[in-house]
Symmetry: C2
Subunit: 156 residues, 2 copies
DNA sequence: TAGCTGACTTTGGGCTTCCTAAGTCAGCCG
DNA sequence: CGGCTGACTTAGGAAGCCCAAAGTCAGCTA
């Protein structure tokens, strides 16, 4: 790995996990729909209204989210109502919550005066934030992160 | 806060930190440029080539990133070369690294077979990942996060 | 001083995403 | 059985984002 970083023309572009993730959630509307889903929104028109997007766009994006396996679409029935479909997060979708939390934290710090929402730990009530952590349990400041070749590059 | 969640029509759309953050970094190219900046890329054509984007797009987005205060543009000179401009992350830009780390982690898990890059703690070499943590120091699983009204909503 | 190179800008065109407005369709309610 | 409502779809058009190809410009290098 002598010159691993210097060779990033070879690995930066192709097969980048960030680029692949952005193919799924790389647009504004999709992430806002996931935000709403994480708030517990389930119904079509609630999604559209709360995200501030038109119905055709909501329909298209929700369909794509189901196709990508981030949301599950399933029938439900409220008493005295007919059967409807609701959209709920799958595990794959829930695993994007750190992305949303990180975006929220940055937005709180730089893009908004007074945040409208605060995340708290259910058990102790303390504020929740996103942290980088190593497998040995240490907090890792951003400048102590090393970039190393991953398994996709090792057996060269 | 009796029915805080049920009232999210009032706070979900307007003034949402996530939505505001996405106005700055809500497109694919911008986040990939920040990824490259975090890898240490500084020169214009390296950005364009490694992100896989045309020069006009690179120029436009880099300019916007400078205007938004995520990148700093400053002159530098290599020996025997003329003065050039380089782009480096500001503190505001560096604070987006958790977003990139979270996207990478999700992409590693769901969108890619073998990741090309691995993040390691410089001191101990262990893998780095993104975690939710409360101010009291507890690890917080996603299902133990409470949503509470923030300071922007309190003095009603 | 003429050429070369890095760092862009300009031009012109295509695809994607979004909008509003209007239409469809299923099934409970009267 | 006719209307209403929730959940969409369709149609037509504006805006944004992207591309390739070509042009500009500054300042070392010969």
């Amino acid at each position: 790995m002598t010159d691993f970083l210097a060779q990033r023309d070879f690995w930066s572009t192709a097969n980048c996990s960030i680029a692949r993730a952005l193919e799924v959630v790389g647009n504004r509307t999709t992430l806002l729909l996931l935000r709403e889903a994480s708030f517990g929104t389930r119904r079509f028109d609630d999604f559209a209204r709360r995200v501030g997007v038109s119905e055709p766009v909501a329909a298209t994006r929700l369909k794509q989210l189901v196709a990508d396996g981030l949301l599950d679409r399933r029938p439900y029935r409220e008493p005295g109502q007919r059967t409807r479909d609701e959209y709920v997060l799958t595990a794959k979708g829930r695993d994007l919550l750190p992305v949303l939390a990180a975006l929220r934290e940055w937005g709180d710090a730089y893009a908004v005066e007074e945040p409208s929402v605060r995340l708290a730990h259910h058990d102790c009530g303390a504020a929740v934030h996103v942290a980088l952590r190593c497998a040995a349990g240490h907090d890792v400041p951003a400048d102590q992160v090393d970039l190393l070749p991953g398994p996709g590059l090792l057996p060269s």
